[in-house]
Amino acid sequence: MTQAVPALPAPATTAISRRTLVRLGAGAAAIVAIVMYKITRGQDVPTWLDLHVQRHAQGAYHWITQNTGRNLVLDAIKSIGTGITWCVKRALSLLRVLHWTGVIALVFAIGYMRAGLRTAVFAAAAIFAVGLCGYWDLTMITLSIMTVAVALAMLIGVPLGIWSGLSDGAERRLRPILDTAQVMPAYVYLIPCVAFFGIGIPAAVVATLIYSVPPAVRLTSLGLRQVPVVSTEVGRSFGSTGPQLLGKVQLPLARRTVLLGLNQVIMMAFGIVVIASQIGTGDVGGVVLAGLQKLDAKLAFSGGFSIVFAAIALDRITTGERALRHGRPVTVWIVDRRRMWAAGLGVVVVAALGAKVLSVQDFPSWRVGLGSWAKSAIDWLNKHARHGVPLIGGTDSINTFFVRDVLNPIRGVLQSAAWWLVVVFFAVIGWISKGWRLALLCALALIGIAAMNNWDLAMDTLSQVLVAVVISVSLAIPIGIWSGRSRWLETALRPFLDTAQVLPQFVYLVPVVFLFNVGRTPGVIAAVIYALPPGIRLVSLGLKEVPYAPREAAISFGATPRQELLKVQLPLAFKAIMLGINQVILMVLATVIIAGLIGGGALGLEALGGFTKPNLKMGDGVAAGVSIVLLAMILDRLTQAWGNRSAPENRKS
């Protein structure tokens, strides 16, 4: 750990000569690459490389189908499912006993305790809005499933995050597992989850858990790693033991980042509600599906907004502290806190009993036509945005342009290039980025994809991911910088970011299809919508985490705001920004995969086979899923390497 003083510009002469050298090298490499591409194009993956993963995975799944209910280990796993169902039913009973009044009071009380009146009112209003959407009880089922899944995710994720934050080896070992959990399409493991844990709630909780645990681990680890060395040194010099240091210094200081992890866990968990409702949870996700299947935008959005409001409420009361004045807790409360908890509990009980006494147990029939508004908005867009828009022509012609002039050429090059040339190409990029280790990793991952026997599909997916990432990053960085420096923008953006991240992708996939036709374009657009929020958030968080001292120093040396941003804030926030880009890439990939449902084809459609025809295509699904994970690893490691390369500490050496 070095003391980071903003890097001084290197002496001009060496910079120029080095730059010229690099440029010449890059030019030469490009020419070589193009010549090689022309000569060797069309060379396919040899058949001997095929590992027949499809056949083996299908065999394994067949074994599972033939042994469920007949095998002790499988029975033991299934009893975990029973335990999960018990927990969810308890949580649901509690929510139902509280009635709507008690639930609102509970949200208010927790919000007030944790973050003050404003957050409390906001969160209570959000949960009240759930009722206004018309699906109170179904949303309570969702909420109980989510609560259990999120609690389990934190119980598993935070200890793993601590382990990974304290030990580099652990981080290295956990990383591929986390990548797999986050990137493997839910459609691949949903049916196996059902086979292992039982239909409905248990399978849904496990699937949600798998998908949402990575941010808990990642951000806990990041939080610990961001604790200033000085603080741990001070703790050590006062004689703290390891656990003391962790409990009294490192974790409290990492708290904000861990809470951001909780926030991300909740957001991810809610993202899977609709998919999970396909396996029999009987919750509000089913409303969204029914709406889509009946082409009823009103129904789909009413269900979708119920999920959004529930997620927002949960998010605010769990991470509301961040909204406090400059991150400083209001100390006045500390003494009174316990009494306030008791008071809060009292309010909740009174509210719950009140509903019973006044016999208004069910949410009243007040409704707000959010669904209808959304439907009108979509109808308007359909009517006016598709054709005849001045200058751009409309979404229809954008789609044509996108497919013919952007996606097709990129896919064409990737698919027609000799497969080994692509391997070499990525290995070279890896080597330049970090060294031979990364080169080897890139090469092996690509050879792995070739061995899954779906090279062309992977190249198709890669082309879609590249396009969506370029668009997302070029939007996320400026917006994130701006919102990191402007409090009002951050506040104004927050509801949109929350909505975009939590609104089930399914809800907007179909409107996007309406605008851009069935095909790859709507998938790319949906990916951008989904990947922007974490990108913007992490960029802006990174800027805000930059300590004030170096900024002040820069200002006192007469730096303009622009200089301060470019030379101080951005370099110091680099790690967080790269984490943001990294998340963008993983989320883009996730959406491009889900876009298999709307004509994106490629690996996404193949992965869907595990869900739509498990006894025929589970193997295809697994092979596609593994290819997706390998693809994600390449993209992830490369961006990470770029991040570390240009980070200030490395630049000095």
């Binding site: 189908t65 961001q226 060395v229």
Partner: protein, 375 residues
């Protein structure tokens, strides 16, 4: 790591934990008593919650049904407790995400509860998840299975593992086929049969950005059986096979084609609620021959016929007969004709009734049919 000395110090000072430590000593006594009270209240609430369990699990089932059918009314009817004379174990029926399935399951539920006193829970879920549920006994029966999409499941669970049993035909038949919006036929009557698509200029009417120069053939939900690629290749048609990926995307494409009056060729099926809202015409393909059936069975890629008719069937968990003989016998005999199913489905799709209400009304109006199932 770009962290500064000053920042580190200020973070320590601001840390809530460390400030809190001072307060803790002062209020230990209050804290203990409050904690005790809080725990007691929480336990009491949980106890009440537990007492409510039978009712709430029942309501979960009811809610599931509503989600499946997309009922727009607010849910949360507390469990409609079945007839007091409950005989036999309760059963769970699958409701797959289409109206026909909801209709069958709800009619069966009404009969099971009112005539046989069997508490019945409906579980809304995807058809493939339903097979896994049937296998494990998480579900007792699924009353509408389209055979063409589930040959592998039939083989895995019914023939090999014998954990699921075939309960016989449901009655109605279904049909997958090639469809175009009817206005396309009005403009180009020769597209009524597959031979019309041999004409490259006509086929090109169906081109999209994704299909390039060729006409686009749109396959929808990947859980359906598809011979389309083979048919296109073996009949030598200038079409490009593309997959929409889901029923929702497919019907969006239909709606869009209808709005724009733009030609669209797709795989679709009957019965489907959209058939009564949008005029679609089935394209004639060569009729089904034994050669085609043989090549379908052999999966040799030589299929070049229309889709065979789907005779819908029922399936149950193998343990159902032992668990509840009366329910098993009833479900085996349970059958609806195409007309009957359409009639009840129309009460839901066109008249806006809930499947539950439609089923009750229909069962009340048709005692003879119901008694035949029970006899």
């Amino acid at each position: 790591m770009g962290k500064q000395v000053g920042a580190g110090e200020s973070q320590i000072v601001n840390s809530p934990r460390i400030l809190g430590a001072k307060g803790e000593n002062m209020s230990t006594r209050i804290r203990t008593s409050v904690r005790f009270a809080a725990t007691a209240v929480a336990l009491a609430v949980v106890a009440v919650a537990c007492g409510d369990d039978s009712k709430s699990s029942d309501a979960t089932g009811a809610a599931g049904t509503q989600a499946a059918t997309g009922g727009t009314t607010a849910p949360a009817p507390a469990g409609t407790n079945p007839a007091a004379a409950a005989s036999g174990a309760g059963i769970k029926l699958a409701v797959n995400p289409w109206t026909g399935s909801a209709v069958n399951a709800n009619v069966a539920k009404v009969v099971l509860e009112s005539k046989l006193g069997t508490p019945t829970e409906l579980v809304a879920l995807d058809e493939n998840a339903a097979w896994v549920g049937l296998d494990a006994g998480d579900l007792d029966a699924n009353l509408e299975i389209w055979p063409s999409g589930h040959a592998a499941d039939h083989k895995t669970y019914i023939e090999e593992k014998k954990s699921v049993v075939d309960l016989g035909l449901l009655g109605p038949s279904a049909k997958i086929g090639w469809y175009v919006p009817s206005f396309v036929i009005d403009q180009h009557p020769e597209l009524k049969t597959w031979e019309g698509f041999k004409d490259t200029t006509l086929a090109k009417l169906f081109a999209t950005a994704e299909s390039g120069d060729q006409g686009q053939f749109l396959m929808g939900d990947p859980s359906y059986v598809t011979y389309d690629e083979q048919i296109i290749k073996n009949l030598n048609l200038p079409l490009k096979y593309t997959v929409a990926g889901s029923e929702a995307a497919l019907i969006t494409a239909i709606q869009q084609a209808e709005t724009d009056q733009k030609p669209l060729l797709l795989q679709f099926w009957q019965p489907h609620w959209l058939q009564s809202k949008v005029k679609l015409t089935q394209v004639e393909l060569p009729s089904v021959t034994d050669v085609c059936l043989a090549s379908a069975a052999a999966a040799d890629g030589k299929y070049a016929c229309d889709y065979p008719v789907d005779e819908l069937y029922k399936a149950a968990n193998a343990g159902l007969e032992a668990k509840n003989k009366a329910a098993f016998d009833f479900l085996s005999k349970f059958q609806l004709t195409t007309d009957q199913q359409n009639e009840i489905a129309a009460m839901v799709d066109s008249d806006g009734q809930t499947p539950d209400a439609a089923a009750k009304a229909w069962v009340d109006a048709n005692p003879d049919i119901v008694n035949a199932w029970l006899g």
